[in-house]
Amino acid sequence: MFSRFTVQELLTVFMVSAAVFFLLFRVARILWKSFIRDSLAKWLLKKGHITLAFRIRHGRPRRDTLTPYGTFRDR
């Protein structure tokens, strides 16, 4: 199927597609950080999923986060 296209054409299609996906990803990331993350965490909190909401809002606890039992890594 690809033999119908030249290498130049295939590379061009690849570069254009990569650029489009990259831009879509950038837009999605900005939207996620600016409001989707917070809204989702609030909704999860309302539904009672406290741990999941915390993880979405603040990320996974750091390995060296101090807990009452020592650091996360110590455990």
Binding site: Q8, E9, A19, F22, L23, L31, G59, R73
Partner: protein, 631 residues
């Protein structure tokens, strides 16, 4: 059993604004966080890692500057929460380093005493000890340490002096688990704290530092309402003129480099879509933006020198009367100043403002301040439409019309932001005019390291943008401007329309053109405005791609500014300049406004009011210049 690794200890750096916390953070961690000689540079906590002399792993937290643990601003709130262990995602630090400006100890010690009352292990750092000693200060660190009941270390953070001693003191304190002496009972009230500071300083100082006489002498002139304003104008005029005069040669080198690369690719690749994509999309699009790197670096170099020397805080003081009249808080100067680089950190820097109304007013007008992404667009349009006529020659330095127009555009942004702030404060965000309480830092020579790091950081940011967003936009735009190819069967129909005009980009541009026709914009400009939303400077890349494809099909050539001067009227060029001064063409700015205000209302308001303002401004400019015969 595997050997258990020693846990990381958490150390927080806290102190008054502009006492050198971030410089100390950089010296301890080897980081390159932004520092500046004015209060309010750090508005978020930052983390870095360091190693103690005996190998202890340290996680260092740089906190925003605060005057007390009773926060008045959102950034001070972060400091309080972390220090008291109330922060949601940050455990309480194992040790606090209270950073104090050694040349102004009577002020800095108040916060240090408050930190002491938090009851955690505490080390006091007397930073900028070289400046204090230069002013004749003689201080006994041992007595100070005994009087305060905490270890005291002297440092010069910008030269990384005293860092080992500080880390040693921190390790020793944690090894012995010694809380500060004299923290039992309730925290002393303000009066008791001042009395305690007087007592401690009397005991520790053999000679107190003299006031900064040079700073006072210079300030008599620099802060003079009349002469100070003239000096400010002259400095800015010099700055913008120098951007045009000094950047020309390196810009020519980059232009020649990208042109040669284009020729090389053209001769290496056979005719085909990839060659067209590389030459007209990537090299023409990204190269036309990269050409402006020298101008951007020069602008940042001047801003960094003015910041580091302490002049920027004076400029804030001079502008305060004007800002107070339009209802902006004096501290809003710092966010607005940051917006000259980019509106995103500018909007984040509004966290230093106490009242929500002040914050909102500043956030709404910050994008009107000319950011560095607008600079290439201004430079291109000025080069195309403004004659490079000399106006005034002074001591071998010539003030030319192009530099003056650039300065005018920057002023236009400032005036528009002040006018809109006035309007917002009189309508949506009514409130009493806030007083200015701002500390003026003493003058300092900018350090080479700080300037170099600052420039490298800006250059890195710009090149990252050029290599990612701008590159991707250039590729997509090339595709939109090159396809669909005219059908050879209907060539006779297509002959009426050039291939570019019938491309996807041409179709989009021509569909939107009627909306922008009253502003004098042709469809090529309309096409270029769309990617400008993702990165303002991409407008140049977009125009370069569109005109490069057009030139290749029509067989014309020449620099982009020559194309613009030939194809556009002066009225169109000036109308586009006004559009760029006033429009909110930045997706990231809207997103960060949403995040900082926690509401869609304000970014939508920002987008609507700035678009209306830009449309009306461009329309009036176009019609006025055309009536004068510039159409």
């Amino acid at each position: 059993m595997a050997e258990q690794r020693a846990p990381t200890i958490r150390i927080a750096l806290a102190g008054n604004p502009n006492c050198g916390k971030s410089a100390l953070f950089n010296a301890m961690t080897g980081s390159r966080e932004r520092v500046g000689n004015y209060p309010g540079v750090t508005v978020e906590k930052r983390e870095g890692s360091a190693r103690g002399p005996s190998g202890t792993r340290i996680r260092l937290i740089d906190l925003p500057g605060a005057y007390s643990l009773n926060p008045r601003t959102p950034d001070e709130e972060i400091t309080r929460e972390v220090i008291l262990g109330l922060h949601k995602s940050e455990p309480a630090p194992d040790l606090i380093i209270a950073v104090a400006d050694a040349s102004n100890l009577s002020r800095s010690l108040g916060f240090a005493l408050e930190l002491k009352s938090a009851g955690r292990p505490l080390v006091l750092v007397l930073n900028m000890i070289d400046i204090a000693r230069g002013r004749g200060a003689e201080l006994d660190l041992k007595i100070l340490s005994e009087e305060l009941g905490i270890p005291v270390v002297a440092t010069v953070a910008t030269q990384a002096r005293g860092i080992n001693e500080l880390l040693q003191a921190a390790e020793e304190l944690l090894r012995n688990k010694t809380p500060p002496r004299g923290t039992a009972g309730p925290a002393p009230d303000t009066q008791a704290r001042f009395a305690e500071i007087d007592r401690v300083l009397k005991a520790a100082f053999r000679h107190a530092p003299r006031p900064a006489l040079w700073t006072e002498r210079i300030d008599r002139f620099v802060l003079h309402p009349f002469f100070g304003s003239i000096l400010l104008f002259l400095i800015l005029a010099f700055l913008f003129q120098a951007i045009f005069n000094w950047a020309n040669t390196p810009m020519e080198w980059i232009r020649a480099g990208t042109d040669s690369l284009g020729v090389l690719v053209e001769s290496t690749f056979s005719e085909g879509p990839l060659r067209s994509l590389l030459v007209h999309g990537v090299i023409a699009g990204v190269g036309s933006v990269l050409v402006f790197v020298p101008q951007i670096l020069l602008l940042f170099l001047f801003i960094l020198v003015l910041e580091d020397s302490g002049y920027m805080a004076r400029a804030a003081f001079l502008m305060d009367r004007l800002m107070g009249r339009v209802g902006l808080h004096g501290r809003a100067f710092i966010p607005l100043l940051s917006s000259f680089a980019c509106a995103v950190p500018g909007i984040m820097a509004t966290r230093t403002l106490e009242s929500k109304r002040d914050r909102l007013a500043t956030i709404l007008v910050a994008p009107l301040i000319t950011c560095s992404a607008r600079l290439p667009v201004y430079a291109l349009l000025i080069a195309a439409f403004i004659p490079n006529r000399g106006l005034l020659s002074l001591a071998g330095f010539e003030l030319r019309l192009q530099g003056l127009v650039m300065l005018g555009l920057y002023f236009a942004g400032v005036i528009a932001s002040l006018a809109m702030a006035f309007l917002f404060r009189k309508t949506l965000l009514k409130g009493p005019p806030p007083p200015l309480l701002m500390e003026l830092p003493s003058y300092k020579w900018p350090t080479f390291r700080n300037l170099a790091l600052g420039l490298m950081e800006r250059l890195g940011t710009f090149l990252r943008r050029a290599g990612t967003v701008i590159l991707a936009l250039a590729i997509v735009l090339w595709f939109l401007a090159s396809y669909p190819k005219p059908d050879p069967i209907t060539t006779s129909q297509a002959a009426a329309l050039p291939p570019l005009a019938s491309s996807y980009a041409g179709q989009i541009g021509r569909a939107l053109e009627p909306i922008f026709r009253p502003l004098g914009f042709n469809w090529q400009i309309v096409v270029a405005l769309i990617p400008g939303f993702a990165a303002r400077e991409m407008m140049i890349g977009a125009l370069a791609t569109v005109y490069s494809i057009e030139a290749s099909t029509l067989g014309t050539g020449g620099a982009l500014s020559t194309h613009l001067a030939r194809d556009w009227s002066v009225a169109t060029g000036l109308s586009l300049l006004v559009w760029y001064v006033l429009s909110c063409q930045c997706f990231s700015t809207l997103a960060v406004t949403r995040r900082e205000t926690n509401s869609w209302r304000w970014p939508v308001l920002m987008l609507v009011y700035m678009t209306v303002l830009a449309y009306v401004g461009s329309f009036l400019t176009f019609q006025f210049v055309r009536a004068l015969g510039g159409g």
